[in-house]
């Protein structure tokens, strides 16, 4: 079973994402912010990271940058959830090494479709 690290500081979003992904047959590891995600990433096998951009302590782009420093996460897809798809955000995301972005709010079905594009 493939494992997804779902990072969001909002409990309701976390629950919703987690529920959606579990229902689609993925195993979900939840983290409450970037810092928490970094710690969980050390101890778990992760096939994809789904990170909210705006979080306390460490944001989505910061998390991406840190994860890419870790050889284990060189090629793991990282998707950033954001409420804006501005060019600025995209540039920052790309520079940090993110795989792609997904604009909030999103349809749960769309989330699964996007995820299926990057992991099989």
């Amino acid at each position: 079973m493939q494992s997804i690290l779902a990072v969001d500081d909002s409990p309701s979003m976390r629950k919703m994402v987690s529920f959606t992904l579990t229902g689609a047959g993925y195993q979900v590891v939840e983290a409450v912010d970037g810092q928490d995600a970094l710690e969980k990433a050390q101890t778990q096998n992760i096939d994809l990271v789904l990170a909210d951009q705006n979080m306390p302590r460490l944001d989505g782009i910061g998390l991406t940058r840190k994860l890419r420093e870790d050889p284990r996460f060189k090629t793991v897809p990282i998707l950033i959830l954001t409420t804006e798809s501005s060019d600025q955000m995209k540039q920052a995301g790309k520079a940090a090494g993110a795989t792609g972005w997904l604009v909030k709010p999103f349809d749960p079905n769309r989330l699964i479709e996007v995820i299926k594009k990057v992991i099989r």
Binding site: D9, S10, P11, S12, M13, K15, M16, F19, T20, G23, A24, L48, D52, N54, M55, P56, R68, K74, T75, V76, P77, I78, T83, E84, S85, S86, K90, G93, K94, G97, A98, T99, G100, W101, L102, V103, K104, P105, F106, D107, P108, N109, R110, I112, E113, V114, K117, V118
Partner: protein, 692 residues
């Protein structure tokens, strides 16, 4: 369950199961935002604070949009835009921003509560707020200061806008504006629809309207850019065309900027090559917009939530507390009776009793703590209220709270909140002067209101203190005479202050909508009296007023020190005991009217012989009071003269007033380990007695 339409294939997701979590999360975020806004120092707002506030609005917006609460999402989107510019230092924070954000938080709460309860009534209008936020976000300061909440919700803002927005019908909607297509018809006389165009001309700030070609002969089509909600527009149009003849379509939802997702080319893990187009069969669509779902069954979603709390009726808790009280007494009795037992013979019994002692104590603490909540729960509502009231009155007030951790019984907290609110309002309205008057009187521009709570002996004392103008003796006496009350100039200050507790009494020259209608202090006093509490006023004209509410701890378990006088045992609240010592006759001086003073380390304090106060019969003439126990109340110390110190222990406070009547110098009673009743002394009363 709410019917949520989902496009595309796949499972149908019932998002309603997450509503409850979202509501709780949003409420927390709103509370946190409010606190941070109130704490925000506009002169030196730091990035961390601004980011924190931004994040609250951002989280709510994200959730609201995801779960389909469009009105909340729209409002919080506006708040977020303003906060985003603030945290980027593109605009300077000003008080109006804090005002409008606090108001928006209030409205968001109302909107969320409507969704939570599934209310069908008319939602509060957000158009005016949205307009004000976007004006502030664009760097404009509203032309007029914010008016006190207008009671009737106006359908559209009619305030002149300082700088008229340039009409840009073809351009995408500006921040804070919604781009709409409005279809009017079918109507017989198409000129009717022109009246709607005039609305946009006449009402500045409503937005812009332009004609669009219509394919149907009896229809008119307009492109509209506005910050108003659909409901507001419909209300406005209703003067000219029927609601059924109006159709409003959104051109694009606020976050619709480009694709809803995409991959970076050559990024690690990316499936294809080109951004946006790497999506195979999936076409980029605008973000999902849904009609705000109604939460019809709360039970379902709540049942799935992990719950950390249970609701228990207060009467069950009270029964438990009573039983534990009895257990404490029984335990103390057993402990007392086992004192004379031979430890060698009864080792097991004695160690069992020691366990019982410890467990009883722990049980008692746990049970008592069920009902106890910190005063911070009550105090936390005041910063916001004070700010609103002060703004309304044009005064500057700072709030200081002390003793927030002081715990109070839940029942008392609920009943004391309203009277306290009233007292605080009074302090702002009648106590604190206008800034210019304060400056003229040589005071700082800011008035200070201090709220404090403390345990004093067997009571909890909550004080509302202000450094305002104080009570005017002359004014009160004058008003009292006008009202035909029996007063005289010889009355003591204390008696004069008591007049303001007379029903309907008010010295306010004008009735404001904050206070001063004369329904108040008498109600406050009655409410507090019903809790067996007392209210005392202390005031000094020109310097301020202090209102002390003293509530008895009817439920309290108290740490006490028992002292013996003759054959009697009295309990002193341990918290008021300072020290005790064997008295040296040289240190005691008798002054006028036989009262005595004792010198303790260069300080003289009154001596109170409990034997005399309580007229204790003395049968054993060999014994006499030779020990002084220094007790303190309100910073005043007196020395109590007793025979012996018996020990310290926890006592269950039994209220004398409800079981017998109020006895001077006694705050309650308790049952001792040997079954005897001992009186708990009212240190405050004794101190006051010694000082008069």
């Amino acid at each position: 369950m709410a019917d949520i339409h989902q496009e595309g294939a796949g499972a149908d997701f019932d998002l309603s199961q997450f509503y409850q979590i979202f509501f709780e999360e949003a409420a927390e975020n709103l509370d946190q935002m409010e606190h941070m806004l109130l704490d925000l120092d506009l002169q030196e707002a730091n990035d961390e604070e601004l980011n924190g506030i931004f994040r609250c609005a951002h989280s709510i917006k994200g959730g609201a949009a995801t779960f389909g609460f469009a009105d909340v999402a729209e409002l919080t989107h506006q708040m977020e835009s303003l906060l985003d510019r603030l945290r980027r230092h593109e605009i300077q924070p000003i008080p109006q921003m804090v005002d409008v954000l606090l108001e928006s938080a209030d409205i968001s709460r109302v909107l969320l509560a409507r969704h939570q309860s599934g209310a069908q009534d008319e939602p509060p209008s957000t158009a005016d707020l949205v307009r004000r936020i976007s004006e502030l976000a664009s760097g404009q300061v509203p032309a007029e200061p914010v008016k006190p909440a207008a009671p009737a919700a106006t359908p559209a803002p009619v305030q002149p806008q300082p700088a008229e927005a340039a009409p840009a019908p073809a351009a995408p909607a500006r921040p804070g504006m919604r781009a709409l297509q409005i279809r009017i018809g079918p109507i017989e006389r198409l000129e009717q629809a022109d009246a709607i165009k005039e609305l946009f001309r006449d009402i500045a700030g409503l937005g812009t309207i332009t004609d669009l070609p219509s394919s149907e002969p009896n229809m008119r089509l307009f492109a509209v850019e506005t910050s108003s909600t659909d409901n507001d527009l419909l209300d406005l149009f209703a003067f000219h065309v029927a609601k059924e003849q109006v159709q409003i379509h959104e051109n694009g939802a606020p976050p619709a900027q480009g694709e809803s997702f995409g991959f970076f080319p050559d990024a690690p893990g990316a499936p294809g090559s080109k951004p946006g187009n790497a999506l195979g069969a999936i076409e980029p669509t605008s973000p999902v917009t849904r009609i705000a779902p109604k939460v019809e069954s709360k039970g379902g979603s709540q049942a799935q939530m992990e719950s950390n709390t249970i609701r228990v009726s207060v009467s069950k808790v009270d029964q438990l507390i009573n039983l534990v009280g009895e257990l404490v007494i029984t335990q103390a009795m057993l402990a007392q009776n086992s004192l004379g037992l031979d430890p060698a013979t009864y080792q097991q019994l004695i160690s069992g009793l020691a366990d019982l002692d410890r467990n009883t104590r722990d049980l008692q603490e746990s049970v008592m703590s069920i009902r106890m909540i910190p005063m911070s729960i009550v105090f936390s509502r005041f910063p916001r209220m004070l700010r609103d009231v002060a703004n309304k009155l044009g005064k500057k007030v700072e709030l200081v709270t002390l003793g927030e951790a002081t715990e109070l019984d839940k029942g008392l907290v609920e009943k004391i909140t309203d009277p306290l609110t009233h007292l605080v309002r009074n302090s702002v309205d009648h106590g604190i002067e206008m800034p210019q008057d304060r400056l003229a009187a040589g005071k700082s521009e800011h008035g200070t209101i201090t709220l404090s709570a403390s345990h004093q002996g067997g009571s909890i004392v909550i004080e509302v203190r202000d450094d305002g103008r104080g009570l005017s003796r002359e004014k009160i006496l004058k008003k009292a005479r006008e009202r035909g009350l029996d007063v005289s100039d010889q009355m003591s200050d204390q008696d004069v202050w008591q007049i303001i507790f007379a029903p309907g009494f008010s010295t306010a020259d004008t009735v404001t909508d904050v206070s001063g209608r004369g329904v108040g202090m008498d109600v406050v006093k009655r409410n507090i009296a019903s809790l067996n509490g007392t209210v005392e006023i202390d005031s000094s004209e020109g310097y301020g007023t202090r209102v002390s509410v003293r509530l008895p701890l009817t439920l309290a378990i108290m740490d006490g020190m028992s002292v013996g006088v003759g054959d009697e045992v009295y309990i002193l609240p341990l918290s008021s005991v300072v020290e005790s010592f064997q008295v040296n006759p040289d240190d005691v001086n008798t002054v006028a009217q036989g009262s005595q003073l004792v010198r303790v380390r260069e300080e003289y304090m009154p001596v109170i012989a409990l034997e005399k106060v309580f007229e204790v019969p003395r049968f054993d003439m060999d014994k006499s009071s030779t020990i002084m126990v220094v007790v303190e109340e309100d910073g005043n110390r007196v020395a109590l003269l007793v025979d012996e110190l018996l020990g310290q222990h926890q006592v269950v406070v039994k209220n004398l007033e409800s079981n017998y009547r109020k006895v001077p110098n006694v705050s309650g009673a308790t049952i001792l380990g040997d079954g005897r009743v001992a009186l708990i002394l009212d240190i405050g009363g004794l101190v006051r007695r010694a000082r008069h």
